[in-house]
Symmetry: none
Subunit: 225 residues, 2 copies
């Protein structure tokens, strides 16, 4: 599904001057991050094939550092990317699922779950059980190292935002080296891959044959308890 693959191909590295397209005045170059396909590819790989959902400040730092070779990118971009990706994956599920029957596999019918930028990862699921990846709790642990007050464990993501915002300041000096000795790669759930907004099982819709708009609307507006 990539009817639209063009665009987005933006060159890494803002050749500043920018000014975008036909704009007359040099309207401040795009103010927002435009991920390159490579960056997207890697982010998705981390997300889908490695179970990364809510990377820790430290991970965010490393990810952005690594992705920087493919184009301008900051920690917050990585942070937001995961934040959004996860949120949307849920949202679409929510729109279509609710407390009804689970309905087996939505067969990717809408959200381009992952299409546009490319993707299509081989859902390789390493045969080993991961402890339990980062989902859920944010690991803001070692903040202390930076001496930036450790309002530690303020698990608010907002706080984390701050944290890595700082880390960003220093990452350069660290030589950006990434050692890959670890082994705790947690790769679970790689099957959360595609599912769209679908789920419009025709079976559900039939009941409205006698549609009373008024009642319908009232139903919609009905308080949500």
């Amino acid at each position: 599904m990539e009817p639209q693959l063009q665009q987005n191909q933006q060159q890494p590295n803002e050749d500043s001057s920018g000014c975008g397209k036909g704009s007359f005045l040099c309207r401040q170059s795009s103010s927002r991050w435009t991920p390159t396909t490579h960056q997207i590819r890697i982010l998705k790989d981390l997300y889908y094939n490695n179970g990364v959902r809510s990377p820790s400040a430290d991970q965010i730092q490393r990810i952005s550092a690594g992705l920087r070779q493919y184009g301008k990118i900051e920690g917050k971009n990585v942070f937001y990317w995961f934040q959004n990706h996860k949120a949307r994956e849920r949202q679409k599920k929510r729109f279509t699922t609710t407390n009804h029957v689970p309905m087996q596999r939505p067969a990717n019918g809408g959200w381009k779950a992952d299409s546009i930028h490319n993707n299509k990862y081989p859902n390789i699921n390493p045969g080993y059980s991961p402890s339990s990846p980062s989902t859920g709790v944010l690991t803001v642990g070692q903040i202390g190292n930076y001496g930036y007050e450790s309002i530690t464990m303020e698990k608010s993501f907002r706080f984390q935002l701050y944290i890595y915002s700082f880390l960003t300041l220093n990452y350069c000096d660290q030589d950006c080296s990434i050692s890959a000795c670890g082994s705790s790669t947690g790769a679970n759930e790689s099957l959360s891959h595609n599912f769209g907004w679908v789920g419009i099982d025709p079976a559900y819709s039939s009941s409205y044959t006698f549609f009373d708009q008024k009642k319908f609307i009232d139903g919609i507006l009905e308080e949500e308890h």
Copy 2:
């Protein structure tokens, strides 16, 4: 993967012309939802006469379920419809209502944030020091501008934090060398495949790959000390 680019002209909305709910042949395989007039009518009714602006996930489900009798529709369509309708209404208003003052900013010249964020996160200081934090206060004064856009920094206090990182070193010749230690892990080898480098971003295919993605990812996933 390759899209269902079928251009098959759909049963253009215009209600009823046979495609309504009655006809099964109406296969409209257009890539995007084309609301029927009935659907639009109801959506607008909800919007204008019932004040629905940002329906909840639950409402979205009910709305799409109800509108389904008038034609194919999914939750996301409803979601986007309201989203867009509201945004465009707002946008339109913005253009017509805009007073003649060029910038409509918080009037007081900025973000009251300064105090706010300082009080709340007192320790936030653009520090500069890789491993040894604290101390180094680094004058962030005239650093900045590495060619990055200046991004109006009045958005929110939260965002302001990033400003710091902007000002500071954000530019480092990243040599991101990645030392690979472990070799085993054999966990994920998802991205290692070269599948992607192909058509996507040809410009950057090989030459810039001094970067081993697998190691990179392992590094990211690496346990945090």
